[in-house]
Amino acid sequence: MGKFGYTISKGRQIDYESNDRSVAEYIYDNEPSFRLCIECGCCSATCTTGNLTKFSLRELQILIKRGENEHVQQNLKKCMLCGKCILVCPRGVNTRNVVILAKQAYQKSDNYAV
């Protein structure tokens, strides 16, 4: 659209209706403790990767629940699986398994597998 010099911006909203949440469903089925997350951020606070790169485990888990698959796929690989997050979670969520299951789900799915 050279002749206009601007384009219509894509909205930033999370569009709940059009998002695909099958990965979240897979994790709920295989790691029931995922339901207990209250998004307090204790996991992110202690996260090794999060301390040095732009990675937030808390945000990642929320975006899994909302179905924002693009962001999740780009960030999943940053987790080092060190397990510090499980030590501190006040609700007892097995956050490390959430990451592993998310990776599995994307591999298994036709839409997202690499």
């Binding site: 206009f4 601007y6 219509i8 911006s9 909205g11």
Partner: protein
């Protein structure tokens, strides 16, 4: 949708609108983009309703566009507005009728500022006196011209030659009403019906036989905003807002959009062209675009005025589909002729033609 709920809210936000003896202040852009509108208002008030509407030749722009673009500081704009009040005082008028919604928002904002910060009022008196030697009083009544037409909507309905009914189907016309942000969002009490479910335009539509459409993005800004579009690269934000509104109203199949703000009318009209050029998307039925009218133009159609005298041909989206639905007689070849019948150049890229 329960209309009783809305009526209860409207009764909470009843506004005092003066009856007569108005000091009229014009809009900067309306005369260029919607030429017939202000003329129609003056004709309606002076000749049909026999009211006294006075224009002072020394009144200027309120400088709202510059203020909202961070070019004019607030002390200056307060002095400009105070000067208008001084002109009112000199001509003996206490009621002001404001043509532009941004301007109306500014008058309201400045009066509220003076109420809460009397020192600012004193400073403004000083500045105005030093600059021009004039003195001013606070007006008794501030009304936007859409408030005035709202007030006289029943008189207009009684003289109506056309009602807002689709002559082919017999159904009331589906009209989307859009209120400018500066009308009531900052000070809900300054708008008829408040800010959530404003009544100023829906009252007019219903008095003239039409049906108001409520859609999810009704409250959303059209994207005008001044700073957003003055710089070309920022216009993407502007057009995205209008696109959001139109996408939201499309399933409701509106016949027209009615607005009371010059910027909103301009943008909702012109951006339909831009969006169509960018991606071929239109929002009316059968690939047409949706005509966007000011309230004076709509009142004019209701009273039976010639659409080309009202200036409808100067919109980007041409109104022929709407005029057909209203069952009006019109001749499209007359559009771009002068009063003497001379043919002027015909604009290219019009929509709905």
């Amino acid at each position: 949708m329960n209309i009783e709920g809305k009526k209860r809210i409207w009764s909470d936000y009843q506004k005092e609108i003066a009856d007569d003896h108005f000091f009229y202040v014009r809009s900067c852009i309306r005369q260029s983009f919607f030429p017939g509108s202000e003329q129609f208002f003056l004709n309606l008030m002076r000749n049909i309703l026999k009211k006294d509407v006075y224009e002072n030749p020394a009144h200027t722009t309120c400088t709202g566009i510059a203020y909202h673009s961070d070019i004019v500081p607030s002390a200056t704009i307060m002095t400009v507005i105070a000067r208008h009040f001084a002109l009112m005082k000199e001509s003996g008028y206490k009621n002001i009728a404001i043509s532009c919604v941004t301007s109306f928002g500014l008058y309201t904002e400045i009066l509220e500022t003076w109420k809460h910060f009397p020192k600012e009022l004193e400073k403004t008196r000083e500045y105005l006196f030093k600059a021009t030697g004039r003195e001013f009083d606070i007006p008794e009544n501030i009304a936007h011209t859409s408030d005035i037409i709202y007030k006289f909507r029943d008189e207009i309905a009684n003289k109506a030659k056309n009602t807002l009914v689709n002559k082919e189907t017999g159904e009331p016309l589906r009209i989307v009403e859009h209120i400018g942000c500066h009308y009531a969002k900052m000070f809900p009490k300054s708008g008829v019906g408040g800010a959530e479910f404003p009544n100023v335009l829906s009252g007019m539509v219903e008095a003239w036989g039409g049906k108001v459409i409520d859609y999810p993005e009704r409250r959303h800004c059209c994207g005008f905003g001044f700073r957003q579009y003055l710089v070309q690269a920022n216009r993407g934000y502007s057009v995205s807002n209008t696109e959001k509104k139109f996408s939201s109203m499309k399933p409701f199949m509106p016949d027209m959009v009615l607005t009371n703000c010059p910027g909103c009318t301009m943008f909702m009209d012109k951006w339909q062209y831009t969006i169509k050029e960018m991606g071929g998307v239109t929002y009316g039925a059968d690939g047409e675009s949706v005509p966007v009218l000011t309230y004076e133009e709509l009142a004019g159609l209701v009273l039976g005025d010639n659409p080309w005298d009202l200036g409808l041909q100067y919109h980007m989206v041409q109104s022929e589909p709407l005029l057909k639905k209203l069952g009006l007689e019109f001749d499209s070849t007359d559009k771009y002729k002068t009063k003497n019948g001379k043919q002027m150049p015909i604009p290219k890229n019009l929509i709905n033609v």
